[in-house]
Assembly symmetry: D2
Homo-oligomer: 365 residues x 4
């Protein structure tokens, strides 16, 4: 990956900070002839948008995407991709300059303030710079197109744990995730009350908490990926690790695989009724030797708690003075919630890229 | 990452299968003027070599590396890199053709046999093809050079868990890892007896078991990495995920971060006695916002149990017939053990690459 | 090069068509701390802008660049780069939909209409799509930043031939190029009358003509480039060949080198009065073995005549019908004129990229 | 292009110097299932081999290629590619150490001695380092595979000019190029006597001379390439410019296009008798807007005279002393001759890469 680009044939370059005029992305290598509606992108964007419940920040950012190139507008209002770069832009409506005062000089613990300063010798202290959660909107836009490249692919994600609380997997209901009563992207209806109480407590304490998200991609044909340095699971992992605050990723049974035996772990095979191979389990998470098996691809990742908290923490400033830093203002008590649609997008992009690469090398799709 | 290349400025391309004449790598972009001895590479290679204890396979592969280009031999037998591509080759001495019989057609559960066949339409059934553990020798050779690029950097790894057993971290002793009585790369002397008994039982059952490895890179200057799609921790993760059988990676406190609060997780800062910033903890694992903090970089990964086991497992063959597959011959009961030096190499390569990239973009080293 | 990106450490991605809402570019990898004024970019853009003489088309496109990210605005109105991606956008003010009628179906000879259609299966017939001359504005914007990366570098270009006419090199005056009386970027004052008469004739006939441009980069330090597949002259050549209508590129004495002997061609060396090596000639054009010598880098390229002409030419349409195509409307009789500032930008980008790559690999700058 | 790699999906990495143990290449991304014989590669290698006439150097280098990975040997002695990296190696049989004496310190005019030294701070003075003509053998080996990727493609090259002498194009006979009486790869039988006399004179004077080579690729499907920064003609040009001593490249009518009018230059189109579009001329050289038209692709390039000549030339040494340099030993009086098979290989690689990229993005092949 280059610094601000990911993918090889389906290449996404993003740009922008939370406090400049706009953010955006350029998608290069999208196949021609892909039909989509602006709403396809907007719907995904709206899912990650702040201001939807008391558990996510209330800034009013409409996140209205503008498509600037690479498409042919059709008479019915839809678009067709032309094969040339697709530029999408989201203007920052709420970028009024304010007094950053001490924040401009102080390094907030858990943030990238200190490391930016060391790396670049200067830093855009207005908001989180490139590390702003806002940047992720552009990934979601790219993912909305990536989803359409692999025929029959469906990529969905769910929050499966928050701090000390976990869902009950026996209650898993994908349809519940889009439910208006569900502010957590949890697939377990029974977990809503638990998470709500828990997070209210966290929020009232000015604290924050982490989360675990699971992404599942179904309908991915067998054969995508590569044996060594472009393994499908490796690139999915890299894409997920590029999301802010992610500290770990696992594929299939992940760290559990380290604790069990070879007999328990190996997924056995049989011929299905339709004459196609089937796996009797999916510990592998849909990838063997870096190449997709045709089973659902399953990835899970950990998001650290929001670093902006009301409790004062020890830090230093640019001049080396020791200070206490407390982050005022509203902040998500659990940034992991909003990572759900972002994760879907990043996984969709990784798979779409490998779909095109596989077609390029082998011609077998 | 391209299919068989990793890195951007320090680029490593590997080639070869376990049953061809040789394996090797080409390192492109190595700085000129790096001095090294052939033994520096050979020592690292010897650490991952099979045949060192009853817990790793007994094939006799001397793993003698030949350096074919990119160096100026000095009178004292050392080498100096010239800045041109360094080609290293290891001949496969034990590649005699044998009767692969049924294996050529059958898909071994947990192996990449089925996925290779679907992807490429054919497959080199002699050994594991590109997925052979043997390929990792070339990574170790590359890593031996990468270690020399970042002045003062020390990258070490240790096995911290095997199946149901874990080390006692309070016993951690880096020096014990190279001890002749330690066949496990464990840093805990007390764990040797535990792991030995446990693994003997696994081995006698014809079974296998997974492992967890921890890699620590010390002496990495602050400022390496990038905020978004080339995060230092992301590329370390990708490099580790490219090792065969790895199913999960975490940085710093990793998945634990998802379970704790923002106050617990944020690493506070103070000025050290030497006038340099210090962190009071290292939950971040040495990386904030994708950029190194100057603290030790800590990564941990899970290796699945060896897929080759003596217990018959259900599978199919190339013609769609349902078969039972049992892998005869000697196999490591825990492939994770040998992953320790490979992990060090992959982490060293990721950091060396970012060292050069940082110097290129900013000139601040 | 990827499809719409060039450069390795100084990476430029461009997007946009002449008839969409905007065009733009994203510059990734720009060093932090580079100071510039918006005017630096705008001045270069204005040099390539249509509407400046009767020899270039009269469309009114203000080409007003907006800088959307990657910079810190200073109190004095200047900018400092932050090291994050710099997004620049130029809105297309004159993009009103018109009736493209037959053009939508017909393949204009010399244009990419037919090849786009074959490649993508569809094509944006509104203007030249990605091949529009308008796209080159974004390169000029990127080049304006690239110029500032290599300390002391000056990149200038001049038109040295137009159709059958050539300049008199003994009259070469760089300062004359910016002269208000010089609509041709010619360095030879005496050539203006010659080119004017010649081009008036061409224009009145509804015809067009090609041109030869020479680019000279001074102040480039010795040591930039690479011996084999990233030769400095090779990447300069590739960058120039990516400009529309360019059909040939040569470095130094170029094709002349094929016609002379080794004694005539080799540039001899002596020590200069300042104790630095000097070359007694520069047939090599400032590059030996792909690496800069410290002498001026000299490249020359041929631009074909504008394909849009008033004379009807035989062609076919999308349905395979044979048609005659005549391109109405105003068109530059010599598109080569406008290529001059674009060429400067592309050469500046190639050298800036190699400056950073050299610093990355060797640390010797 | 990376420093020692070219191509995107069909990627070739080369390594090695003329005076190390071996040279070689790694081809990554080759489609699986390509059948070839070792002789296919060896035949191409033999065509560029020194020692075939009095006009090329007499060193005895058998250039025997070894295929080390990425293939399945078949019972009939042929190979099938597996889709994994193909490593090929050619051992340097004649690499005995000799006394380089003054050459180790002196910068030969026209060679890259000075620039290597400035760039890397040290240099492998044994032979030409990476700039050795020997490196090109590995490109020829890669090209032999590339030729097999695009069905029906035929890539041939011919020497069309040498110093002041040119062929008579009306005598063009492709079949004559492989004729045993033709030491020049000229397509004009009548030119052999002319070139022989001319080059004998040059050789006896201890001088050297340049050449112009033309490459023609037939059977390339329309639609390969990209509109902007990965134009097919641009990547062909870059590949040719990467060959040592090449100083200029042109596509189709090239520099001639700058001298003619739009009517003369535009290639008209009609429907052919087979219902397929045909072009009535091919000034474009088979590429419009960076994308292949289906017509033959035509490129031409200039090779400078061999820099190693017997006439003493002024130079300096590493310590800054002014010296005269005369290159003893046998050298090709016209290195351009040997560039012919290399050029074919480089053009074949560029087209094969774009064939796979086109298939990847569009699925239209």
């Amino acid at each position: 990956m280059s610094h601000n680009t990911f993918g090889h044939l389906f290449r996404v370059t993003t740009w922008g900070e939370s406090h400049g005029p706009a953010i955006g992305c350029v998608i290069d290598g999208c196949p021609p002839g892909i039909e989509f509606r602006q709403e396809d992108i907007q719907d995904d964007l709206d899912r990650r948008r702040p201001g939807q419940s008391r558990f996510v920040t209330q800034r009013r950012e409409p996140d209205q995407v503008k498509i600037l190139s690479g498409v042919l507008p059709q008479e019915d209002g839809t678009f067709i991709t032309t094969g040339t770069p697709i530029s999408m832009m989201i203007e920052n409506v709420d970028q009024r300059s304010k007094d950053y005062g001490e924040i401009a000089k102080r390094f907030r613990p858990g943030h990238a303030d200190y490391t930016y300063d060391v790396k670049y010798g200067l830093r855009d202290y207005r908001g989180g710079g490139r590390s702003s959660a806002r940047e992720t909107a552009t990934r979601v836009a790219a993912g909305a197109l990536a989803r359409r490249i692999v025929p029959g692919m469906k990529v969905r994600a769910a929050l499966v744990g928050m701090g000390e609380k976990e869902i009950d997997r026996s209650n898993w209901d994908w349809d519940f995730i889009g439910n208006a009563e569900n502010p957590f992207f949890t697939p377990d209806p029974a977990s809503v009350a638990v998470f709500s109480d828990y997070l209210d407590g966290i929020r009232k304490n000015g604290s924050s908490v982490g989360a675990v998200i699971e992404v599942v991609a179904e309908g991915v044909p067998a054969g995508l990926g590569a044996p060594i340095y472009a393994k499908l699971d490796q690139e999915i992992t890299a894409n997920l690790m590029s999301i802010n605050a992610v500290k770990g990723v696992e594929i299939g049974n992940g760290f559990e695989a380290a604790r069990i035996t070879g007999e328990e772990n190996a997924d056995e095979m049989r011929m299905g009724e339709d004459g196609k191979p089937v796996f009797l389990s999916n510990n592998a998470g849909g990838v063997l030797g870096g190449i997709s098996t045709g089973e659902p691809i399953v990835a899970r990742f950990a998001v650290k708690p929001t670093s902006s908290i009301l409790t004062p923490r020890k830090s230093i400033d640019k001049d080396g003075a020791e200070v206490d830093v407390m982050t005022k203002g509203r902040h998500d008590p659990c940034v992991g919630i909003r990572a759900v649609p972002i994760a879907e997008a990043m996984v969709a992009c990784a798979i779409a890229d490998h779909y095109l690469r596989h077609r390029g090398q082998t011609g077998r799709i």
